[in-house]
Symmetry: C2
Subunit: 116 residues, 2 copies
């Protein structure tokens, strides 16, 4: 009767107790790939630049290999790009999210039978 | 090489965008079943009584059937118990968490091969 009740959730890749790579890291990287700059990516996310920069800074700090590479100079004041390793991580995360979502879908199938 | 990277996550039962029943609700109910009072359960969780009460209040508010029933009066000033529906919900959640944990374990199996 109550299909309004739904299982939801989130996964992330942790390093110890610390989140290394989750949805906020992934979605920001995706925009950096498209825009070529943290500033433009932050704007598209309606996120203060400082917050986006903190996410990237922490990501690079935890990662064994740099993920976002800043390019200095140039007419636009320098942009940045996502490293090959970063692109690989994004693909791994996409796959894990796809698997996770199908599990969630599966878990929801009998939930409406269980909850009034 | 890097088994320090691990997928982790959490699931909860949502009503719309609002969390209805997640790990904090479950673990508090479990202690209420054992202790027979919100106060004693909160103490065991090292949680202020008001915070525990808010969790229970919200749980009862969202639930189609009351989950924690308060008993007034008595020598101890009245305790509370978890309704049959609440016990059923706890069992459903335990099952979902068990399934979720096995999925997480599965997802972690090839992660160390993927991340340097």
């Amino acid at each position: 009767m109550n299909s309004i009740f739904q299982i939801g959730g989130a996964i992330a890749i942790y390093k110890g107790d610390e989140i290394f790579f989750g949805m906020s890291q992934y979605s920001l990287l995706k925009l950096i790939v498209e825009e070529g700059s943290i500033n433009a990516a932050a704007k598209r996310k309606n996120m203060p630049y400082q917050q986006a920069w903190n996410i990237i800074d922490q990501l690079n700090r935890i990662s064994p290999i740099p993920i976002v590479i800043r390019q200095k100079g140039g007419a636009g004041g320098g942009g940045c790009f996502v490293s090959e390793y970063g692109i690989e991580l994004m693909k791994i995360f996409e796959n894990k999210i796809r698997v996770f979502n199908s599990h969630i879908e599966e878990m929801n199938k009998d939930l409406s039978k269980c909850i009034i």
